[in-house]
């Protein structure tokens, strides 16, 4: 009996292995892309209505479905919880006017967001992305936060041919893979690493500028991409990199790197730590008595918790978060007001770009006049959009041409310091030494 069981399993094994090798051809033709409009009850009633002009339009779906696999728990949870409200408030605002007008149906259709928590787990993100696609007639995906989550999600959007709007990742390499459905209205590494030197050279007279740069990078792909770009740009603008240190993500001890920077007389810091590393880094800098005159710290100081947690030690660092609630664009006030109502403070830095994603999508659908995903994709790629982060257009690689404002922490608050026409406060330079604060 034992052997029979074994033989049966072996046979099944061989059969399934064979199936593996011939499956692709066999199935491709059958793979059903759900093309019929979902049968909803409301449109049925509408078609019976006697209005003659409406009869020429097909029954409209009840909602325009957008889906998001987003990290609300786990490592990227803090990002996801800033992004999600941006999506939700934007949809609320658009739906308050009845939704998005779709010419194809001659009707305003409200947006509906379905989101699942992927728990900061890339494989869960894949299953959630597939679930969203299988369970809903998706018009677009809205991204989560964190580059490894995007890396897992974007290919699924591409495979399913659904436009994907995502923010909160500056990784440029993802855009170089030829994805056609990926759009990201967010500053990328090449912008950030060049803008920082441009701004310094414009804002600070020669002779007072910092010259010796310490770079604290990571050994992940974004860290390396960013570090390489800094190495490339620094000499072009007259800066010298005196210390270049790398750590893996999540090692929150930068003592050795700080010692080296201090010993080398570095007066400027460029780094991109996650929060635990960033807070550890600045506490240790204060303890070791090394105050760079200027520091660009991407990522860690992007939430209000930076100021709350670090107090004066966290002041004077600057960031490139892609947006600030003080930006003078149409719609910002409305977003801030609603955010204030919900969370008791003006909109967070990532909330604006998230809000903009929905604005872009809504405007693209309206311009396209259809819910056909490919037409919408082409419309996003070609169009110009007015959003709370300013006018947005997209490059062929899906990166957005967006404003890249510089924010500085001053007195426990984030102030927009560059460009001047949006500034809420002037840039403070040089940063006072830690012991004098």
């Amino acid at each position: 009996m034992k052997t029979k069981f074994g033989v049966a399993l072996v046979i099944m094994l061989l059969v399934s292995l064979m199936a593996t090798s011939c499956a692709p051809q066999a199935v491709e033709t059958e793979t059903p892309v759900v093309t019929e409009a979902p049968a909803t009850e409301a449109p049925a009633a509408e078609t019976e209505a006697p209005a003659t002009e409406e009869a020429t339009y097909p029954p409209a779906p009840e909602f325009i479905d957008v889906g998001s696999s987003i990290s609300l728990t786990g490592n990227f949870g803090s990002l996801g919880n800033l992004i999600l409200p941006g999506y939700q408030i934007a949809i609320e605002h658009i739906n308050a006017d009845g939704g998005v007008f779709v010419k194809e149906y001659n009707k305003k259709i409200p947006l509906r967001l379905t989101y699942y928590d992927d728990e900061s787990d890339p494989t869960k993100a894949v299953t959630k992305m597939e679930t969203l696609f299988s369970e809903h007639e998706l018009t677009a995906y809205l991204g989560g936060g964190g580059s490894s989550m995007h890396a897992a999600s974007i290919p699924i959007a591409e495979k399913n041919k659904v436009p994907y709007l995502g923010i909160s990742f500056a990784l440029y390499k993802i855009h170089q893979q030829g994805y056609k459905y990926l759009f990201s209205p967010f500053p990328k590494s090449p912008n950030q690493t060049e803008d920082v030197f441009k701004i310094l050279n414009e804002a600070i007279p020669e002779g007072e500028r910092p010259t010796k740069v310490a770079v604290f990078a990571y050994n992940d792909d974004w860290g390396k991409e960013w570090g390489d770009l800094v190495k490339l740009r620094a000499p072009e603008y007259g800066y010298e990199i005196v210390v270049y240190e790398e750590n893996p993500v999540g090692v929150n001890d930068w003592t050795a790197a700080i010692q080296k920077a201090k010993a080398a007389g570095a007066d400027m810091l460029l780094t991109l730590p996650v929060f635990p590393d960033g807070s550890g880094m600045f506490k240790t800098m204060a303890e070791l008595g090394w105050t760079p005159k200027f520091s660009l710290v991407i990522r860690a100081p992007e939430g209000v918790n930076w100021g709350e947690s670090l107090g004066k030690i966290g002041d004077y660092v600057t960031i490139f978060p892609g947006w600030h609630y003080g930006a003078k664009f149409e719609g910002v006030d409305k977003l801030n007001a609603r955010y204030e109502e919900l969370y008791g403070r003006p909109a967070d830095l990532l909330t604006g770009p998230a809000y903009a994603c929905v604005q872009i999508l809504a405007q693209a659908i309206e311009k396209a006049g259809t819910l056909d995903r490919d037409v919408i994709r082409d419309t996003i790629a070609a169009g110009e959009f007015d959003t709370v982060i300013g006018p947005v257009t997209f490059n062929p690689d899906g990166t957005g041409n967006v404003l890249d404002p510089l924010i500085q922490w001053q007195n426990g608050k984030m102030e927009l310091v560059w460009p001047a026409e949006h500034a809420t406060a002037p840039l403070i330079y040089p940063a006072p030494a830690f012991e004098d604060r």
Partner: protein, 295 residues
């Protein structure tokens, strides 16, 4: 060259002390009751949050509020033991390790989720007026906050040692570490001892959590990393030895710092773990463990 190296080693020791303290609680619980509590890191997190909120809302200095944190964690320990862990004590040793692993796993998802819902996913850190302060001695800087932390870690450890060595209950706990069957025959109330050890373990985790929130930062998903680190430190020092655990922590801290200094930050984790494995190859019972420590 010498001065930066010394400076680095000073930091290594200060960080290592924290590793050691984090692991002591785990080691105590494992030594006494053979519970491998993988939610230890989450208990650390609770301690960190307790200090953070006391500091934020009541403006009480985190070092001053440590007794409050300890009481809070003792209470948590009591509840968790009575509710969950006490149901595992009758199992044989292997089943106990296995089931405590499972229960701890479930518990850690619960605690993480609750922390997240109560306090959001934001990272937090305590920065007092004297954070960043340090004094210099022969060109070496000694950061005030970390020195106090080291002091507290040592005080906590010594109090634990005195408790274990001098009091009757403490002796009972130690007797149980060595041989619970004989201890039970000698009339020691095993249940009480298990409960107490578990509560003390939680309290130690709480203190470690406070220090983490002061020196580094805390967030709801921080637990796993601290649990993994604590397990390594516990085994490095040798099961059943609290002092060994603490020393193991310092060795790990110094190794990591020295590696970061000489080779680069990318290899600090690897170097620490390699050292750990090499030590284990030569001393399969850990640095201070006895041959029977794993039984």
């Amino acid at each position: 060259m010498l001065q930066p190296l010394v400076q680095n080693i000073v930091y290594g020791i200060l960080i290592g002390a924290l590793y050691g303290l984090a692991a002591v609680g785990l080691s105590l619980v494992f030594g006494v009751s053979k519970f491998l509590n993988v939610s230890h890191g989450e208990l650390l997190m609770l301690g960190g949050y307790a200090s953070f909120w006391i500091f934020k809302l009541l403006k009480v200095d985190p070092f001053v509020s440590i007794p409050l944190t300890i009481i809070f964690l003792l209470l948590i320990g009591f509840i968790l033991y009575r509710l969950i862990f006490s149901r595992l004590i009758k199992l044989e040793v292997e089943k106990k390790i296995q089931n405590s692993l499972l229960v701890g796993f479930g518990l850690s998802t619960i605690l993480q989720n609750i922390a997240l819902r109560l306090w959001t996913a934001d990272d937090r850190s305590i920065t007092t007026a004297y954070s960043g302060l340090s004094f210099e001695l022969a060109g070496i800087r000694f950061p005030a906050v970390r020195l106090i932390s080291l002091g507290i870690a040592i005080v906590a450890l010594i109090s634990l040692q005195i408790f274990l060595k001098k009091t009757f209950t403490g002796k009972a706990i130690r007797a149980t570490v060595e041989d619970w069957q004989s201890a039970s025959l000698m009339g020691i109330n095993i249940h009480q001892v298990y409960l107490l050890a578990f509560m003390l373990g939680c309290a130690m985790a709480g203190v470690a959590g406070t220090l983490v929130s002061i020196c580094y930062s805390i967030d709801p998903s921080m637990g796993l990393n601290w649990t993994l680190k604590s397990m390594v430190v516990m085994v490095l020092g040798g099961l059943g030895s609290m002092v060994g655990t603490f020393v193991g922590g310092i060795i790990l801290g110094v190794t990591e710092s020295a590696t970061a200094f000489f080779i680069g930050g990318n290899y600090r984790l690897i170097a620490g773990l390699l050292l750990f494995l090499i030590i284990l190859i030569f001393r399969p019972q850990g640095l201070f463990g006895t041959k029977e420590g794993d039984k």
